[in-house]
């Protein structure tokens, strides 16, 4: 069985990602470093109001609001994970980046020098959520460490 010393977990609190979190935690020993990567998909850039009739400070307020709202959602998600982790003495780091999920994962995997990358499996059809997927084939080609994909919970 794998016994990685440093795990990169990519998740954003979706059901698929929660399965990945469970598996990643299961693999952790007391001295394992868990790098938690949260990607804010860059599709948000296209959501900043392509429209030109925006009024006054509206968009600024909106930008700050979206930022804060995403921040709040991430913080909630992180807090849940941290509660489980702190009890077990795992070293835990969170990184939030804005960009394309696949690319960010590849970059962060190299930067964090993780031995194992854990992600959730793609959302099955029919379940709603953001459309921003990890390009699995590209990941498989580019990653230099093993990639573990948690099955989607039934």
């Amino acid at each position: 069985m794998l016994s990685p010393r440093s795990i990169l977990l990519a998740s954003h609190g979706t059901i698929g990602a929660q399965a990945a979190e469970k598996i990643a935690l299961g693999l952790c020993q007391s001295d394992t470093v868990l790098h938690h990567l949260i990607v804010v998909p860059d599709l948000w850039r296209g959501m900043m109001g392509d429209d030109w009739l925006n009024n006054a400070s509206t968009r600024d307020t909106y930008g700050k609001y979206v930022e804060a709202q995403l921040g709040r959602e991430i913080e909630q998600h992180r807090a849940v994970l941290e509660r489980e982790i702190s009890a077990r003495g795992i070293i835990f780091q969170t990184r939030v980046v804005l960009g394309k999920p696949g690319q960010c994962l590849i970059e962060y995997a190299a930067e964090s020098k993780a031995d194992l990358v854990v992600i959730g499996s793609p959302r099955p059809p029919g379940i709603s959520g953001l459309r921003s997927r990890m390009p699995l084939e590209k990941l498989a080609r580019a990653l230099t460490v093993p990639l573990l994909i948690a099955p989607y919970p039934k």
Partner: protein
């Protein structure tokens, strides 16, 4: 940080522009111009080519040679590269692709049975937006151009403000009234409808709120304005904006095709697009796509757009009060602050420009829509581009046609005006012109007779040079803005359309589009 990027591209684009203008000036491009039949653009090819090319070369040299320091100069000059990038695309599309498509459309017509270029509206506006969409989604906007693409909204706003020069009091009053009625009914109606459906389906208040703004008022800008007020969740915002964008892109291409198929007039189409399309920038796109050669449709559509923007503070206020009532712990609303912070200042600019123009400084006094009456010899006999004399008096054959139809005219004033036209071979006064147009509108004469009257009317009706210049400039500003706008439409954000917003948005959006189409077709006539 330093924004200027060391790129040779600004310089290269400048050289291309200047070289092209120079070749047009020297007649080296004559075969191409003849082939594409773009002789009427030859003047603007030279002025714009030299003007933009010169600026691009200067700034391009500076970017390559100088070592810019952080600051205002660096920040603002860094936008020039992107500006030139958009302009170059606009030039290629307007002077190259647009006439090429028109030519192919005509040539393929016998084989296809229809002119694909005109049915699909493959004109420079549509192709410019498409070019922008393709560049951002397939190739990515080059890094050195990014800063300049952020100017596109400035271009659109300037276009709207300048548009103010083209209205008369009567026109503005009439369009204003029409737009307030239509927008009032359909915008408030669809906001109400979404709130009602949301309540019936027991959706979260935040989702219903952001959705009703996006689908009811003006798309993304309204969602953006409403999201903080109703404390929307991130996925709710993403769903709604994705839906609005998707709907807007579809509308922008579908509306002009439908409008042409139904044979709608400029006012009808402008009113419909202004009411039915969700996103305001796409209203401008659709209006110009419908009538790329002129801006009558755009003028109507923009009045609707402006009315809609003025409705925005009201909607935001409504949603804020609605949300406070339903949600415990929601922030209290400061009514004046909402109104003041949401009020679009550029609308005041539009009004200022309108007032400036109505003092008559841009056109001879008594002009109507920039046109004025002149039946002097000087105005009727002119030289065209190649120096050939064009005589706009009626020909003998025209006079014969009129004489044949003369007995169909019964009213005395109309008879008299027609008689004077036949004797002098030109319209003799402004009153006569109005009377004769009455004959045209009532369709008293045969087709040929009406054509002659129209010809006589056109001969004495002149567009003021300054107003014509404003028209051209406005079309360029909108083209610039729309190409840049295309570069901001990303597939990644459109793909987020989903969930309840997609379902409800499609239902309400289609109801609004079809409903306003029916109302416009029944109630709006051409006489504005």
């Amino acid at each position: 940080m330093v924004y200027t990027q060391k790129t040779p591209w600004t310089l290269v684009m400048g050289i291309i522009m200047v070289a092209y203008a120079y070749m047009v000036q020297n007649g080296m491009m004559e075969p191409v111009i003849k082939f594409l039949n773009t002789g009427r653009h030859a003047g603007e090819m030279q002025t714009l080519g030299f003007a933009f090319g010169a600026v691009a070369i200067l700034v391009g040299l500076w970017q390559v040679l100088a070592a810019p320091k952080e600051g205002q100069t660096d920040y603002y000059l860094s936008t020039v590269a992107g500006l030139m990038f958009i302009m170059l695309i606009a030039f290629i599309v307007k002077w190259g692709l647009d006439p090429l498509m028109a030519k192919w459309g005509r040539e393929a017509q016998p084989a296809l049975g229809f002119n694909f270029a005109s049915v699909m509206n493959l004109n420079y506006v549509v192709m410019g937006i498409l070019a922008g969409i393709i560049i951002v989604n397939v190739f990515k906007v080059p890094g050195w151009a990014e800063n300049g693409v952020r100017l596109s909204r400035l271009g659109l706003k300037t276009g709207v403000i300048l548009l103010g020069t083209l209205y008369s009091f009567a026109e503005l009053a009439q369009l204003g009234k029409l737009s307030i009625v239509l927008i009032g009914v359909f915008v408030l109606g669809s906001v109400g409808l979404v709130l009602w459906i949301g309540a019936r389906r027991k959706l979260p208040n935040s989702m219903t709120g952001v959705m009703s703004a996006g689908i009811g008022v003006c798309g993304v800008s309204a969602s953006v304005a409403a999201a903080p007020v109703v404390q929307a969740k991130s996925t709710e915002i993403a769903y709604t904006i994705g839906t609005v964008l998707l709907f807007g892109v579809v509308c922008m291409f579908a509306f002009p095709i439908i409008g042409k198929a139904l044979g709608m007039g400029y006012v009808q189409f402008g009113a419909w697009a202004g009411t039915g399309i969700l996103n305001s920038a796409q209203v401008a796109g659709a209006a110009l796509a419908f009538q790329p050669g002129g801006i009558e449709t755009l003028k109507v559509a923009e009045i609707f757009n402006i009315t809609r923007v003025l409705f925005l503070p009201i909607i935001v206020l409504w949603l804020a009060l609605w949300y406070v009532k339903r949600e415990v712990g929601a922030q209290q609303v400061d009514v004046t602050r909402v109104i003041v912070s949401k009020f679009p200042v550029f609308v005041l600019g539009f009004i200022l420009m309108f007032l400036l123009s109505s003092t008559g400084i841009f056109a001879p006094a008594r002009h109507y829509q920039g046109a004025y009456f002149d039946n002097s010899d000087k105005a009727l006999v002119k030289k065209d581009r190649s120096g050939k004399e064009v005589n706009n008096y009626l020909k003998e054959a025209d006079v014969e046609t009129l004489k044949k139809d003369a007995e169909k005219v019964k009213r005395d004033d109309q008879k008299a005006a027609l008689q004077r036209l036949i004797e002098n071979k030109k319209v003799m006064s402004e009153d006569d012109d109005a009377t004769l147009r009455g004959i045209i509108n009532a369709k008293l004469m045969s087709k040929e007779g009406t054509a002659v009257l129209n010809k006589a009317h056109r001969a004495i009706r002149h567009t003021a040079a300054k107003i014509a210049m404003f028209r051209d400039l406005i079309a360029w500003f909108f083209t610039f803005g729309l190409v840049g706008l295309g570069m901001q439409i990303t597939v990644a954000s459109i793909k987020q359309a989903g969930g309840q917003p997609l379902v409800i948005g499609s239902i309400v959006g289609v109801i609004k589009a079809v409903g306003s189409l029916i109302v416009v077709m029944l109630m709006v006539s051409e006489t504005v």
